[in-house]
């Protein structure tokens, strides 16, 4: 354990414990940044309609009979944070860094529909007190995210064009490159809850009655069915349309230092659960391309946050530098040209190779899960 970090954590832990206690007994109205949300089957009560911007915690209690979910939403329904699967009689806590402005809290009993909503307001300067270096990091990351979307569109159009021309080989070739920008910034892309299910859902992720669209439907046609249907050609156009929607909206994504750090960890989670197992690209076996893109995206967030993390937890930075380098080097073994995105087909990577990749991912992801704590300014 690292003494420097421990001291910081202990202080914050004490403060948090205090807040939690006040929140419980006082119904949260004077608990700093704690908003009690009491959900029933037909109500969604909040203990405060106004709260100071900055670090906000929703203490949710489901007093209803149905499983519910609770959202903190921007006025345009963009999700600030959410918690699903809150069982009857249970309590959950969810935290977010919010800027001053109008928000909505929505409870969705039965986890369906638009939910029961309450307008709320975050007051004051809030997040403005943040370390200017972190603001700079967020701004730089926002530029990066936008650039990834901008660069993806022509690649997606190339892919769509090949599909529409019925050119199986050209489409296969254009498939993986069209996904790189998305994969690099997946946590941000996914924060637009409605785009991801259209463009990146896998067959097993479909809900009852949901139409399968997007990259993976086309992947199955190209590699498994080995033919391009008229329906596929329409799907190719649809994919470009949906990605344009992403390109137009991604600039408005709410990004904080915490979400950047946790996003980096989430990218490694993506690798650990989808790519290492070969589930993500089960027909094309281009998993290592996604893998590389995920790692690059995580590395970008990390690089931008590193100056602050270095100050708060130097040992963590040393460890992360080492593990990023080790994983990059390992991935490098699976491509002939280090400047290309042509990787070994994942179905040819044996159990020992997959274990080695999995170990390297674990070695990086565990310390990466501590990055958010190292950039939180308290």
């Amino acid at each position: 354990m690292r003494p420097a970090r421990l001291a910081a954590v202990a202080a914050v832990a004490a403060a948090a414990a205090l807040t939690a206690v006040t929140g419980c007994t006082e119904k949260g109205d004077d608990g700093e940044g704690v908003v009690q949300v009491t959900a029933t089957d037909d109500t969604c009560e909040v203990s405060a309609k106004e709260f100071p911007a900055g670090h906000v915690e929703l203490a949710i209690e489901n007093k209803g009979s149905k499983v519910t979910e609770v959202y903190l939403l921007f006025p345009d329904d963009r999700v600030v944070t959410e918690r699903e699967n809150i069982g009857p009689g249970t309590t959950q806590r969810v935290t977010a860094e919010v800027k001053p402005g109008d928000y909505r809290i929505a409870c969705k009993p039965g986890m369906k529909g638009a939910g029961i909503r309450q307008d709320v307001k975050a007051t004051g300067k809030g997040a403005a007190e943040r370390d200017p270096r972190l603001d700079k990091a967020v701004a730089a990351y926002r530029t990066y995210v936008q650039a990834q979307a901008d660069e993806t569109l022509p690649l997606a159009e190339t892919f769509a064009k090949a599909v529409k021309a019925g050119d199986l080989e050209a489409a296969k070739k254009a498939y993986a490159p069209s996904r790189v920008g998305w994969e690099r910034t997946e946590p941000v892309a996914e924060s637009f809850g409605d785009i991801d299910p259209k463009v990146d859902v896998r067959e097993d992720g479909l809900e009852d009655g949901q139409k399968w669209t997007g990259w993976h439907r086309l992947e199955k046609s190209l590699w498994h069915d080995k033919k391009i249907t008229d329906e596929d050609k329409k799907l190719a156009d649809q994919l470009v349309t949906d990605l344009k929607d992403w390109q137009n909206r991604v600039g408005t994504a709410d990004i904080t230092p915490t979400s950047m750090a946790n996003g980096a960890k989430e990218l490694l989670d993506e690798v650990a659960t989808g790519k290492v197992t070969g589930e993500e690209e089960r027909y094309s076996h281009t998993d290592l391309v996604d893998f590389k893109a995920n790692v690059e995206g995580a590395e970008k967030s990390y690089a931008l946050l590193k100056p602050v993390a270095q100050e708060n937890d130097a040992a963590l930075v040393t460890e992360l530098d080492k593990e990023f380098a080790a994983l990059d080097a390992l991935l490098g073994k699976y491509r002939a040209d280090k400047d290309s995105y042509v990787f070994t087909s994942y179905d040819t990577v044996g159990a020992a190779g997959r274990k080695e990749l999995s170990d390297a991912v674990n070695a990086l992801a565990e310390p990466l899960s501590k990055l958010a704590a190292a950039v939180v300014t308290k």
């Binding site: 421990l6 914050v12 832990a13 674990n362 990086l364 704590a373």
Partner: protein, 408 residues
């Protein structure tokens, strides 16, 4: 740093009340205090510090999670740091406390130090015992420190070893009366170890197959026979010194007070065994199935008369008298890892044996078992051997210190 985190029992709230109630029932606080030390029902804590590591002579707990690790780092200092972090975590977990800053209440942005599934559970007599495999001594410049007694096991007749279930640079044996407590311990150590070590294989076990407490009823293995009747008891100081603990003159110095562990995953052909006549089953073991008495004797603890048993009877061949006195402390567990795809139970014995010197313990005994009638019903499919260092003495000590810093 430790005082802020409540123990699991304190957190539970009713732990104290439960004990108070127990006091009334047992008719005295003294009895309860004793029960709190080591009785499974009380769920008490086994001291972590001592001359020897806990989990060897300790009364055998009901459940096991055993994990074998391979070292990933090449940085000796980093590995030592991990051993210290592991020791700190083990110290807390065996006392029934959560790892680090606990399982909740910390920074909302960071994952909790402890994974949380043991919160509210009693210490459950958790012991954590570390061992170092032969391959560890090929790393970190440790070649000269490898004990002579830590030999690579020879190939034994009938071995069908799976490489992926064998060996390992180091191991941790987690024993507890609550399986969740044992699994929690391995999970949290593995988490702390990410980047430095990786799990090579692990094994869950239930139903201890040998006890170190002869006053209790002798447990049975999955073949239905009492196992470990003549095992070394945790209270037999003389036999422990003679057969289990590495003596000060045995060498190397860093191992004094330690022991050597042989782990074998022994698959049992359960279904064919179950179709075997009672007579043959009893002949195979050399003891009767009900009482556990040696052939020709009436009571389980009667002195065995080996010549009354068939020449290939298991007990006869494994007995110290057939092996020049070789004696080991057994601490194995039954396992069932589901089924094998052919509709058969993937079950057997996860054999764990502690000894002062593998060359005068497991090896001669296992060699002698080459003609064992039991071999028709079992197969050794996993194997590992470890040097188990002496105990962690106090708060400043850590697992492996005597190896990495030389004897203090």
């Amino acid at each position: 740093m430790t005082s802020a985190s409540p123990s699991r029992r304190a957190l539970l709230g009713w732990g104290g009340a439960g004990l108070a109630l127990g006091a009334a029932a047992a008719g005295g606080a003294v009895a309860v205090a004793r029960a709190g030390e080591d009785s499974p029902a009380a769920g008490g804590a086994v001291p972590f510090h001592g001359v020897h590591q806990a989990g060897i002579a300790t009364p055998v707990q009901d459940r096991l999670h055993f994990a074998s690790f391979d070292v990933r780092t090449e940085d000796r200092a980093e590995f030592v740091r991990m051993l210290k972090d592991w020791t700190a975590a083990a110290r807390r977990m065996t006392a029934g406390k959560a790892v680090g800053e606990g399982g909740f209440g910390g920074l909302p942005e960071a994952p909790p130090d402890d994974t949380g599934e043991a919160l509210g559970l009693k210490p459950s007599r958790l012991t954590l015992t570390i061992g170092f495999g032969p391959s560890l001594f090929e790393k970190f410049g440790l070649a000269d420190a490898r004990p002579e007694a830590l030999v690579d096991l020879p190939k034994f007749a009938g071995d069908n070893l799976d490489r992926d279930r064998s060996g390992g640079d180091l191991c941790v044996q987690a024993c507890a009366d609550d399986p969740q407590v044992a699994v929690h311990a391995i999970r949290n150590l593995a988490r702390i170890g990410f980047g430095k070590v990786v799990i090579r294989w692990s094994q869950l076990g239930f139903g201890k197959t040998s006890s170190t407490t002869p006053e209790e009823q002798t447990p049975r293995n999955l073949l239905g026979f009492k196992d470990g009747t003549r095992n070394i008891a945790g209270t037999e100081t003389d036999r422990l010194e003679k057969f289990v603990w590495v003596g000060e003159k045995d060498g190397p110095d860093w191992m004094a007070g330690g022991s050597y562990l042989v782990a074998r995953r022994i698959r049992m052909h359960i279904e064919t065994w179950d179709r075997t006549s009672l007579q043959e089953q009893e002949d195979v073991f050399g003891r009767d199935k009900g009482e556990g008495a040696p052939a020709g004797k009436a009571k389980e603890r009667d002195e065995p008369f080996l010549k009354a048993m068939k020449p290939d009877a298991h007990v006869r061949l494994a007995h110290p008298d057939s092996n020049g006195g070789a004696t080991i402390l057994r601490r194995g567990y039954s396992f069932t890892d589901g089924t094998d795809g052919l509709g058969r139970l993937d079950a057997g014995l996860f054999f764990l044996a502690y000894q002062r010197d593998v060359r005068r313990g497991f090896i001669p005994i296992q060699r002698n078992l080459a003609t064992d009638a039991l071999n028709e019903y079992i197969q050794h499919v996993g194997s590992a051997v470890f040097a188990v260092p002496p105990g962690v003495r106090d708060e400043d000590d850590w697992w492996g210190r005597t190896l990495f810093e030389g004897k203090a």
